[in-house]
């Protein structure tokens, strides 16, 4: 009797090696499925259960998930782009040209990175407004909203620092226009401007600074806050915690949709 693919997969999951890697073991009982989340270092940030109301598309438009996926695409395309890029002027421009015309799939990599970055900025804004209009910033999730605002600023900074890296006219003058705003800060404006650019104008020092910020400091900081952001969703009672909805929404919610006050273990 031939085995089905599912059976082969079950056999694989039953092997000693597999079980040494995934601590929760196999099986489709509710307990095992809960453990699959709870015993995984990445997934344990999330709740083991989610309110079914949350799964409808209209509830969240999946904007948080989509924002995360643009971030993952940006990491996945950004690392190979770094292999072909020297953060020095004018070599950076030549490398970008090479990516466009010489490197295999370099054009595609750069395109995907660029459009995903624009998509991420758009999705972060959309996510913020969706959360606001849903009233999901209410207690006990005030601080997760604040972390969200920090992540919005991180996203803008990530996109802005990446904007300079091609070292073409578009990049150079966009960063010049943007960084001149820093000079307008009262008293310390010129100092901040100098600190940001490593000089009085956009030059090779600025390129190196933006590169380090874009590829190291900002992504790591963003990941740090994203982890807290996800973990706080679970700690604050999960998505669509009934307690945090306004009285008017609670009053009109369907009777079946009453809260579980003890959510968020």
């Amino acid at each position: 009797m031939a085995k089905t693919v599912d059976q082969y997969f079950d056999d694989l999951r039953g092997t000693r090696v597999w079980r040494s890697i995934f601590r929760s073991g196999t099986g489709s009982s509710t307990l095992k499925r809960a453990l699959a989340i709870q015993q995984n270092v990445f997934l344990h940030l999330f709740s083991t259960k989610v309110r079914s109301r949350m799964l409808s598309f209209s509830a969240t438009w999946y904007l948080g998930t989509l924002t995360l996926s643009t971030f993952l695409i940006l990491v996945a395309t950004g690392i190979p782009l770094m292999f072909y890029y020297h953060p020095s002027a004018p070599q950076a421009y030549a490398d970008t040209k090479d990516l466009q015309f010489v490197v295999s799939s370099g054009l595609f990599l750069r395109n995907l990175h660029r459009w995903s970055a624009h998509a991420m900025v758009f999705l972060v804004f959309a996510h913020m407004f969706k959360v606001f209009y849903r009233g999901a910033y209410r207690s006990p999730r005030e601080f997760n909203w604040v972390i969200g605002v920090i992540l919005l600023l991180m996203t803008l900074l990530l996109s802005y620092t990446g904007y300079l890296l091609p070292w073409d006219q578009l990049a150079y003058w966009a960063i010049t226009v943007g960084s001149n705003i820093a000079s307008a800060v009262p008293v310390m404006g010129e100092k901040i401007h100098f600190l940001l650019l490593g000089g009085n104008a956009v030059n090779a020092n600025a390129l190196l600074r933006f590169y380090v910020l874009h590829c190291m400091i900002l992504p790591l900081t963003a990941m740090f806050f994203v982890a807290i952001h996800f973990w706080r969703i679970r700690k604050d009672g999960g998505l669509y915690s009934h307690d945090s909805e306004p009285a008017t929404v609670r009053a009109t919610a369907p009777a079946a949709a009453t809260p579980n006050a003890k959510e968020g273990q």
Partner: protein, 234 residues
């Protein structure tokens, strides 16, 4: 012992007739009392599967866009040759549009700083948590404040000739005026909706409106010298 009639509870709330009563709780106050399990699903596999589908749909769209449209790449950076206009990335063009009207310390520092501050403090204000319709309570005083603020803002924008920001402000003020004349018992669903909108809703919607309009103008309607152009005059 009691006869069976004593147990027909839930129909009669007269204490003298039937001493065993059921507590009737209106829905508005029931959240604490009826604490019960809401319908839930396992994160694994239900939610993870749906998330994976969402990720794949987005990835497919982005890959398609990346195959169809090339990212812009202009000539080598040249500090001695300024393009006209020199534009910031699109998400900053709302700010750049404001720089056209106000000094940098206002448009570049004060306004964005205040916006970030305002976003952070949203959940810490009681008026945002209660979320009652703006004009439902204390109507006269709130209407007066609304008139003063709307008028002051409009005059301010008019004096600085910021028509791009003035028009959305006037439209929002008109809608808010309609909201103030709407009652929660109105037969029109739209009027009921307007009447129930809280203060935070109006402020945020005004902000969103301004953000979209200013960004769109900065992106599509500004040419050399930051003069107004039509998008097709590129």
């Amino acid at each position: 012992m009691a006869d069976s009639k004593d147990f027909t509870a839930g129909v009669d709330s007269n204490a003298k007739k039937s001493p065993r009563r059921i507590v009737f709780i209106t829905r508005r106050t029931s959240a604490q009392v009826k604490a019960d399990t809401e319908d839930q699903v396992q994160t694994f596999p239900e939610v993870l599967f749906r998330s994976a589908v969402a990720v794949m749909v987005l990835a497919t769209v982005l890959v398609w866009v990346a195959l169809m449209f090339n990212a812009p790449l202009e000539g080598l950076a040249d500090p001695s040759h300024t393009p006209n206009p020199a534009k910031a990335p699109w998400y900053f063009l709302g700010l750049q549009e404001m720089l056209h009207y106000f000094p940098p310390v206002v448009a570049g520092v004060l306004v964005p700083g205040l916006v970030v501050m305002a976003l952070i403090i949203i959940p810490y204000f009681k008026v945002n948590i209660e979320a009652d319709g703006l004009f439902l309570k204390d109507r006269q005083r709130r209407l007066q404040i609304f008139y003063v603020v709307a008028l002051a803002l409009s005059v301010f924008l008019l004096v600085f000739k910021v028509y791009a920001a003035l028009v959305p402000t006037l439209i929002m003020a008109a809608v808010m005026l309609l909201a103030s004349q709407s009652s929660p018992q109105s037969p029109s669903a739209f009027r009921r909706y307007l009447a129930a909108r809280p203060l935070s809703y109006w402020v945020m919607t005004w902000f969103l409106f301004e953000l979209v309009v200013l960004t769109a103008i900065g992106t599509f309607f500004r040419g050399p010298g930051w003069e107004f152009v039509w998008p097709w005059q590129g």
